[in-house]
Amino acid sequence: MREALRRCLGRNAAPLGLALLLASFLGLTVAIHPQFGAYDVQSLALGALPLALAAAAETAVVLAGGIDLSVGPLIAVANVLSARLMVHAGFAGALGIAALVLAAGVLAGALNGLLVVVSRVADVVVTLATGFIWGGVALLILEKPGGGAPDAFQNLATGTFGTRWLPNALVFLALALALGWGPVRASRLGLGLRATGSDRVAAFRSGVAVARMQVISYALGGLFSAVGGLALTASTGIGSPLAGLYYTLSAIAAIVVGGVSLSGGRGGMIGPVLAAFILTLVPTDLIFLAINPNYGQVIQGTLIVALVMGGGLATALRRP
C-alpha cells in the first residue's frame, strides 16, 4: 500500500510539484494583492488559455520524439482565419467555422508530420520552414489586426460558468484537453506515441507503426494549435497575424518547465499546462509588486536555464 503510494507519487512528481508551485504562487499573489478576486482569476485564466493550448500542442509532438517550431505561426493562422470568417457570423455559424478551422489545423499538422517522415529532413528544419510559410499565410489572410467574433462565441472564453469564480476559459481548456487528449492517452495510440518518442527503433521492432505515430503526433499538435488560435479569437475578439511569434518559444518554455523531456517519451500533458499558468502568473505578480514586468521574461529564461542545468547536474551526479 505504502509502496504503491510512493510509486504513484514518484510517477507524478512533476505535475504534483508544479501544482504546489502554482498554489504557492497563487498564495503569494493573494498575500501581496489582497484585493485578488474573481476578476483576477478570470484574467489569469484568459491570459494562460492560449499558452496552455500551445504547450499542449508542443507536448503532443515532443512526447512522440519530434519538435514543432511552427506551433506559434499555426496558432496565428487559426486566429486570423476564424476572426476573418466569424466577423459577421451568428453563434451557430461561428461554431461551424470553428469546426472548419479545427479540420484545417489537423491537416496542417499532418502535413508537418508527412514532410518529416517522407523528406527525412530534420524536424527542426521542416517545422522552421513550415513556420515561415504559416507566418506568411496568416499575413495573407489578415494584413493587420482585425476581424471579429460574435459575442456568444467570445463568451465561451470570457464568460463565467455558474459562479463568478469559475471562468469559462478554464472550462474551455479542460474540455479541449479531455476531448483532444483524453481518448489518446487512454488508448493504445497514446502508448504508441510514447514508445515512438522514447526509442524509435525499439518501438518499430515491437510492431509500432512509427511513421504513422509521428504523423499523428504532429496532427494532434495541429489540432491543439487550432484550438489555441480559436481560444485567442474568443478571448481577444480579434485576429492578429503576428500573435504567433511569441507562442512557439513560450510553448517550449512551458514544456521544459512542465517536466516533458525534449528527447521524447517522458512527461505528460498536465505539467506543461500548469507551467503555462505559472509563466502567466509571474509577470502579473511583478506588476502587483510594482516591479518592472519585463523581468517576467528574464525570470522565464532564468527558470528554464536553472531547471535544465539542475536536471543536467542531477543526471551527471547519478552517473558513477
Binding site: 525534449l262 519585463n294 536555464v305
Partner: protein
Amino acid sequence: MSGRGGAAAMRGRRLLRDWPAGVLALLLLALVGAIEAVFPGTVSPGWVSNAMLFAAPLGILAASQTLVLLTGGIDLSVSAVATAAAYLLATNAAYGTGSALGIAAAAGLAIGLLNGLGVALFGVQPLVMTLGTALMAGGLLTIYAQWAVARLPHIPGFIQALGAGKVAGYVPIDLLLWAPLTVAIVLGLARTGFGRLLYAVGDNREACRLAGVRVWQVLLAAYVLAGLLAALAGLVLVGSTNAADLGLANVYLLPSIAAAIVGGTSIFGGRGGYGGTVVGTLILTVLNSLLTLLDAPEPIKQVLYGAIILGLAAAYARLAD
C-alpha cells in the same frame, strides 16, 4: 532508373557530398541567370556590390550558427546577442567608442559563455539552453533600454561606414571584414586541430571522449566563438540600419539557420562547413532580391522563402544519403 541516369545521379550525389559549396554555387549562378533573363540589365557591378553589402551581416551571423551546428548543437540566441551588442554600442558610444565596443563584445562573450557552460558542462540540450539565454538577454535588454532611455543613441561613424559604406565605388566595406573572416573560418575548420575537433565532436561525441578529447572544452569554445561572432554581426547590422532598436536582429534568427542548412551543414552535426554557408547566405540574399524585383508582397515572399528552404533541404537530404 536507367543505368546511365543512375550513374549520373551517383556522380551528382558524390559531387554534392564531397564538394557541396561548388554545386550550390552553380545553383546560385542559375538564380542570378534567372534574374538577368527575367529582368535584363539588372545584374550589374552595382547590383552585385549591393547584394554583398546586404549579405555580410547575415553571413557573419550564420557563421556563428555554423560553428555550433557542426558540433551537433543549435544556437537560438544569436539574434538576441546581435541585438544586444548593437543596442549596447549605440547607447554607450557617446561616452567613449572603445568602451562601447568592449561592452558590446562582453555581452556576446557572456551569453556565449553561459550557453557553453550549460551545454558543455551540464549536458543541457542546446535548443533549450539557448532559448533560455535568448529570453534572458531579450528581457534584460528591454529593462536596460528603459533605464537608458535618456541616453542619446549614437552610432559611431566607422560603424556606419562598416555597415553601409563602399570603397572604390563598388567594394562594400563589410565585405572587407567578411571576406578575411570567411578565409579564416574555412581554413580554421579545415586545417586546425580545433576545427577538426568541432567536426569530430559533432560526429561522435562518445568516440571523441574515449579518444581522450576534452569534449567540454571544444563545446565551450564553440559557443563562446558563436557569441562573439553574433555580437560582431550585430555591429555590422546596426551600421547598415543606422538605428538600434530592440528587435533589430530578430528577423535574422531563422535565416541564419536556413543559410547554414541550405549550405549543406547538417543539423545533426559533423557534416558541412562555412564555405557552403557563405553560398547559402548568397542564395538567400539573391532570392530575396529576386522576390523584391518580382514585386512580391511580404507575406508571399515569406511563404516562398519557407517553401524554397524546405525544397532545398529535402533535395539535399535525398542526394546526400
